[in-house]
Homo-oligomer: 394 residues x 2
């Protein structure tokens, strides 16, 4: 699960990604479309030269002359970080498919990030393969804190990565619970990777970097701002299988993360509390209106989402434990869907998602999930031609 | 709202009802059918004589020789009580229509009572015209007690009658909250009207009798038993517009009352609590499974059920306050549905529910609700021929 930083700040393609990541403010559908069409280097050149159609000219005009890419990358690499781009092996590609859903595309702000500035010991793609966003109020009650810790401990012990926003309160409880159990956790920031925000979380962020990952779509130096928190929340939801709000007041930002979860079609849960507590008003409202389902413990989340099996598999795969007697076929431990997907993978060459979906008869969304497990298990690999069986599995 | 006891224990028809009420154990669909067909006196004679079809012979065989009706009625009347029967003006007839619904009739135990043994200062029909069942665990937490009191106070202050089972714990909190606000409350017992159960509730039951009503379908001397609690719960739900479970453990009897509420098509609510409290486990389960909707305060129940308007009207009607200037027509203060129903009532003779539903274009269930309000407001009256406008409204 450890990643190595072999990035070169002089690499022109990496420079192009870094430039593109800064030239717009946060998510930008038009720029993504251009990059998809012509690649990052040509896209960067086109933006720099100006004269783009208005939909692209407007969001890039203010910064297109400022190419800080070399400086940004040097700073990042000096900090031990790396720029995770769609070129990278650890780009959470199937998480990003979230943004390609028909209903999601109708939301102007529901756009994938251009790249992720990252510090951390783990691969984003791997740790987010079974992940739960645990979010809530910045001013929790002791009840909210304790229950968040209990829930996050239970979820991470079962193999789920806890994704949150590193804010004071519930976010911090969730990260700390995972770290206390020596489990990875992912913090998604609403500012540059070099910023310490909130300032009191210097040590916490350091520990998350050492045992998990801190990511942001904002280039170094970017200050936190309200609109960035809202945009950040979409990534918290996108990188997770479910959103859990453990404690939220009437106007908590956690409800925004929950909204993203719903938009993305992910299950959203809320923990109830005393009706006399203002800190639970937001959770109760979400349950009342059907925006969230009530959960009282981590195991309810694990069962409802089906994450128990998937996460358990990851624990097994990552544990380095040799298969016991009778469990000696490489495909032992796969569930039926994963087996069907595995059996449909070509031995050589490669196949696309749609092709695998057709040949296996498994819906595309489940194919993605299965491929993630197969890849982590070392049974499948991605190449230029698409997915194929890994060598050891042929 | 005060009722007067003018019953004569020698009245042969009343004797027949009392006999029939004792001859079977609790609800009995076959006996009800017979009474509906031939009336109480002939039904009593037929049962006494034996030789009935087996479906009726079996449930009545054990007690058909024991006619304690005179003694039962004397005891009741000595206690200041009365036997409320389908002949009585205060028989909650439209509440009992609950049992006539198609889906309800499929449940063998969902049967109307034969009669109600009653002690109390108020008319069951009137006070249950806007009523909420508030039930829960016998061993509540202080949180559960306090929130039950808050909820019941809010509901009864708004004009809703609190119906419950006079048990220790949540039931008692609910009754006491209503009484504290000088509001009527109805206790439905699972034993005879002469029994003090639970024994510690002697004073509470006395106070409910003075300011509200205590009712039971069981004749004097009947001891409480588990199956009687379950049968009793159906009456708690049937006499109410909604069921609210404020605190319930995993196996609380309140979940049985909630089940009746759902069967009857009434809204069922549960109050959440700390997830760390075993006393709230039942409420949380009901919310999770969709058996109940989450509510955090009385006003949510009032809004969700539409009881706010209906109950408020009852408060106005019962307050004796003269209509203010400009509010001088008898129909002022009625809502649109009530007005439509009122306008469809004949000036003389009478019309049945179905007929009024057709002529007003209002669904039968809403016609019932509207008629209850109109009757309490003195605008409609029931006669042998059905419903008609009251004299003052012609």
């Amino acid at each position: 699960m450890m990643t190595t930083n072999l990035q070169d700040p002089r690499d022109p393609r990496l420079r192009a990604w870094a430039y593109l990541s800064r030239v717009v403010e946060g998510p930008c559908r038009q720029l993504l479309a251009l990059i998809n069409q012509v690649g990052p280097e040509d896209a960067a050149r086109a933006v720099q030269s100006g004269g783009l159609p208005q939909v692209l000219d407007r969001p890039t005009r203010a910064r297109r002359q400022d190419d800080h890419s070399a400086r940004d990358l040097e700073l990042l690499i000096d900090m031990g970080g790396e720029l995770v781009t769609p070129d990278s092996r650890e780009w959470p590609a199937w998480r990003m498919l979230t943004f390609d859903q028909q209903e999601v595309r109708q939301d102007l702000d529901a756009v994938a990030p251009i790249a992720l500035w990252k510090r951390g010991a783990v691969s984003i793609d791997e740790v987010s393969s079974s992940a739960v966003a645990v979010v809530g109020t910045r001013a929790p009650s002791s009840y909210g804190e304790q229950c968040t810790i209990d829930m996050a401990c239970e979820l991470s012990a079962a193999g789920c990565t806890i994704v949150s926003g590193a804010a004071y309160g519930i976010d911090a409880c969730a990260h700390r619970a995972a770290l206390a159990g020596q489990k990875p956790t992912v913090a998604v920031l609403a500012c540059g990777i070099d910023q310490v925000y909130p300032s009191g979380h210097d040590r916490l962020l350091g520990e998350i970097v050492r045992k998990g990952a801190v990511v942001t779509e904002y280039p170094p130096g970017t200050r936190p701002a309200r609109f960035r928190f809202l945009a950040r929340n979409r990534l918290v939801a996108a990188l997770s299988d479910a959103v859990l709000v453990t404690e939220a007041g009437k106007r908590s930002g956690a409800r925004n993360t929950a909204r993203w979860g719903r938009l993305f079609g992910k299950p959203v849960y809320a923990m109830p509390g005393p009706v006399t507590s203002v800190s639970s008003v937001g959770c109760h409202q979400m349950i009342r209106t059907g925006e969230a389902s009530l959960v009282t413990c981590g195991s309810e989340v694990l069962s409802d989402t089906g994450l128990r099996e998937r996460a358990a598999q990851r624990v097994l795969v990552g544990s380095g434990i040799e298969p016991a007697d009778g469990l000696d076929r490489v495909t032992d431990g796969l569930d039926r869907t994963q087996l069907r997907v595995f059996d449909s993978l070509p031995m050589r060459g490669g196949a696309g998602l749609a092709e695998i979906a057709v040949s296996s008869g498994v819906p595309a969304a489940s194919v993605q999930a299965a491929l993630a497990v197969l890849e982590i298990s070392g049974l499948a690999q991605r190449g230029d031609a698409g997915w194929r069986r890994a060598k050891k599995a042929c």
